[in-house]
């Protein structure tokens, strides 16, 4: 009996030992869906080109801005506005990749601070959502004493796209450059330089991070697939909350917060929201049979995939009915905004429950033990 016991132990240990050896590469392909190919597609066709384009748009913005700052005028302002819009739209295309190099750079905090989701949106005085901290900006200009690398809400709210939004496009923006000109120009340049530097860092960071990204096909918290699904859900949460629902007064019994719209002064909030959601769909679909859409089908969830695609289109078509500037539409046609809001919530539900569950991804931005 003892011998038999030891034999069993030996065999089981041997099996365990073999099972624990290092992986030979490229073997998950043969029986099912190739996740490495999916991640490779995302990296090479969507993420890396997205950041490369972002670098270029920042360069264009910087040169348009320099022209304006050298001689502020209405024409120059219009040029800056177009470059600003292009850069901002491009940012929406990479906003959902807030992990890896972007997480290291804290790109979302410094470029386009959303205020986070954990704040009450019921008082207009507080800095929440896509607010701009105009006091801090003016103070920074006057004192010349600031460090844009500071990690604080007022620091995030006084740089990046929101700060440029105020500096270039707020009422009387051009006139403001005629007093304390040197300091105001210097601050504007500092903001743009910092944005360009961060974007460059992330873009070059992906050269090294790419191999790590495509090699990890796990789905746990912090894995590339886990991050992608969580970021899609998070961007949906931002759409439902700070981008549309909260300025509309969903949290506040209909009290509208028009100034908290994304890009309030420039007035193309809806265009940004559409670009954001269009890009989420692009991420979901992927391409060439490589993407979450194809993955769900491979797992036998064809109907779910159809429903998600249809809901993306439903939400997008409702979004497209909202006229810009959103800050006006919130009061003139709240029902149009509300209609989009409802479709976005449906899509969010599908992503958070059906898609996350089918891909075995935990929707949580925090690590924890389970069961």
């Amino acid at each position: 009996m003892k011998k038999v016991s030891f034999l069993i132990v030996f065999v089981l240990l041997a099996v365990g030992f073999i099972a624990c050896r290092k992986p030979p590469t490229d073997q998950e392909v043969e029986n099912g869906f190739d996740k490495t190919a999916m991640l490779t597609y995302y990296a090479d066709n969507i993420i890396v080109p997205g950041y490369t384009a972002m670098v270029e748009k920042m360069q264009a913005l910087e040169s348009a801005s320099n022209t304006f700052l050298a001689a502020p005028s209405g024409d120059a302002q219009a040029t800056v506005k177009e470059a600003y819009k292009q850069a901002y739209l491009q940012y929406q295309k990479v906003a959902a990749f807030q992990f890896g190099p972007a997480e290291t750079a804290l790109l979302d905090l410094y470029l386009n601070f959303s205020g986070g989701l954990d704040y009450s949106f019921t008082t207009s005085g507080e800095l929440t959502g896509f607010s701009v901290d105009t006091n801090t900006i003016e103070n920074n200009i006057t004192t010349g004493n600031y460090n844009l690398a500071n990690m604080s809400r007022s620091s995030f709210y006084s740089q990046g796209f929101p700060a440029l939004n105020y500096l270039f496009f707020a009422p009387g923006a051009i006139e403001k450059y005629s007093t304390n000109t040197a300091a105001r120009v210097a601050y504007t340049k500092a903001v743009i330089t910092r944005m360009a530097t961060l974007v460059n860092n992330v873009s070059t960071g992906w050269t090294a991070y790419r191999s790590e990204f495509i090699a990890n096909t796990q789905t746990n918290v912090g894995s590339p697939i886990g991050n992608m699904v969580n970021q899609m859900a998070y961007q949906m949460d931002l759409l439902k909350g700070p981008r549309l629902g909260w300025p509309l007064g969903k949290q506040s019994n209909g009290i509208v917060f028009a100034t908290k719209c994304e890009a309030y002064y420039a007035g193309f909030s809806v265009a940004l929201a559409i670009e954001n959601l269009t890009n989420l769909k692009r991420i979901y679909v992927g391409g060439e049979g490589k993407g979450f859409s194809a993955y769900l089908v491979a797992l036998g969830n064809e109907q779910m995939n159809n429903d998600v695609l249809a809901q993306f289109d439903a939400a997008l078509s409702k979004l497209q009915l909202i006229p810009d500037p959103l800050s006006n539409t919130l009061t003139t046609q709240p029902q149009t905004v509300d209609a989009a809001y409802k479709e976005i919530q449906k899509l969010l539900t599908l992503l958070k429950t059906d898609v996350a569950s089918a891909t075995a991804v935990q929707i949580t931005f925090m690590d924890n033990d389970g069961d």
Binding site: M1, K2, V4, S5, F6, I8, V9, L12, L13, V15, G16, A19, C20, P23, P24, Q27, E28, V29, E30, N31, G32, F33, K35, L117, D118, S120, T217, Q218, N220, G241, G245, W246, K250, Q251, S252, N253, G254, A298, L299, Q303, M304, Q345, L348, T349, K352, T353, D354, A356, S357, A358, A360, V361, Q362, I363, T364, M366, N368, D369, G370, D371
Partner: protein
């Protein structure tokens, strides 16, 4: 029935066996708990789970349990860790076990969203250890006061821990005997395709038969492993299976944390006294004793009753779900404290709306304002937490000036590879619904497609 149980308990109470298994158990359990507490601390979970949240999902009857502030919470964890270390060393054992049990249980009672089966198991074992003479040999206590040293203890001292572990496995096995687990291989079919990165076995994770194999093997293992551990002739082989099984679960499901290691360590208790004496003699300072020194309890009658009641509670609590109508996995009435481990895949999205009594005001609730992501995730699928949160929201919005707030929820929940479905009646004011052990009639019935 009650008589035969009492007689069996009596024999366990009076028969004397080697103390060695209990000593090993004490050391292993203490060290593991020490490591576990440090791990929890090191990962920053004391702060993220107990300090940062402004609202906690307390247990019915334990609403008075509140977290301490940051300093106090860390101090409490330090105290629990120290107590665990003292248990391992057998130093001030009785005090250490009482502190560990109370401290650990207090922490677990703070928030139901952190409930884990193995935390409950740890609390139970810690409670038992208070009454077990595990420090009577190879301990600092016995070193300082050689008079308390004993080589034999009543058989129930070992038996009760074996019973407790047996309960964990057996009920975990019983819980798996359901249609989803056995005949749809859910949730394994959902979870395994996410494990294709594993070496060797990875490519097979998309295969349905593998999910069935995992499900059936898991159920059979849970149901029967205890009997092979108890049988002297198969203990060793069964233990090898225990080790391999739990190492495999740790590799496949790293998210279950300490559980595999708790089980691997604790099941050592099934080995014989002779085995443990041999094991302990490998350690420094261990002295074999030829003298027959026997540990006796002062109040045998009270002890018999105590043990019997404990055993009955352990047998009844996991079955209490039978008293509730509806589908257990959907309603989760009587789900916790029943050894349902890694049993289902459930996810949800919950949207709450608050109105005043006159229905002239509408506020959509931003869950992130009140809950951590972990709390929100847990609350979204568990009715008792949903209703507790609704009551909290009513209080909160009352403070904000809303007249007699009413709370309505639109919640979608997905269970075991099905699609997400509406979970609760959207027309019910949840803030007016009773909490506690009642049946939640506002949860919509479960209909599979």
């Amino acid at each position: 029935m009650a008589d035969s149980i009492l007689n069996y308990v009596k024999s366990l109470r009076d028969r004397q066996v080697s103390i060695a298994p209990l000593v090993t158990f004490r050391i292993v359990f203490g060290l593991l708990m020490f490591a576990g507490i440090l791990r929890f601390w090191w990962r920053g979970w004391i702060t993220s789970v107990y300090v940062l949240p402004e609202f906690h999902f307390t247990y019915t009857g334990f609403d008075w349990v509140k977290p301490l502030r940051a300093d106090g919470m860390h101090l409490l964890f330090a105290l629990i860790a120290l107590a665990a270390l003292f248990i391992a060393l057998g130093f001030l054992y009785r005090v250490a076990t009482v502190i560990f049990f109370l401290g650990f249980t207090y922490v677990e009672l703070i928030d139901a969203t952190t409930y884990l089966n193995h935390y409950y198991f740890i609390s139970l074992v810690a409670f038992l250890l208070i009454f077990l003479p595990a420090n009577r040999d190879y301990s600092i206590d016995a070193r300082v006061r050689p008079g308390i040293r004993r080589k034999f203890v009543p058989a129930w001292c070992i038996g009760i821990i074996r019973f407790q572990l047996g309960i964990v496995y057996f009920f975990a096995g019983l819980a798996k005997l359901n249609v989803d687990w056995l005949f749809n291989a859910q949730p394994m079919r959902t979870w395994l395709p996410a494990k294709t990165h594993l070496p060797i076995v990875g490519p097979y994770m998309y295969e349905a038969w593998v999910a069935y194999l995992f499900s059936w093997f898991g159920a059979i293992y849970d149901l029967f492993i205890v009997f092979f551990l108890l049988n002297r002739r198969t203990t060793l082989a069964a233990y090898a299976v225990v080790v391999i099984f739990h190492v495999a679960t740790a590799i496949f499901f790293p998210g279950i944390g300490m559980f595999p290691y708790v089980m691997i360590s604790c099941t050592l208790i099934y080995f014989s006294g002779a085995f443990h004496e041999k094991l302990l003699s490998l350690l420094p300072f261990y002295r074999k004793g030829s003298e027959v020194t026997v540990y006796r309890y002062k109040y045998p009658k009270a002890l018999s009753w105590g043990i019997s009641i404990y055993i009955l509670i352990q047998l009844i609590v996991p079955l209490r779900f039978l008293a509730y109508p509806g589908k257990l996995f959907w309603n989760e009435e009587g789900y916790r404290f029943s050894w349902r481990v890694m049993l289902m895949e459930k996810s949800g999205a919950a949207y709450f709306k608050v109105t005043n009594k006159e229905k002239t005001q509408y506020f959509e609730v931003n869950n992130a304002e009140f809950l951590t992501p972990l709390q929100e995730k847990m609350m979204s699928t568990q009715p008792d937490m949903i209703v507790k949160y609704a009551h909290f929201l009513a209080d909160e919005y009352k403070k904000r000036g809303v007249n007699e707030p009413q709370v309505y929820a639109e919640i979608y929940v997905l269970l075991n590879g099905d699609r997400s479905k509406l979970f609760v009646d959207t027309s019910v004011n949840l803030a007016a619904q009773p909490q506690g052990f009642v049946h939640y009639s506002w949860v919509l019935p479960y209909n599979r497609k």
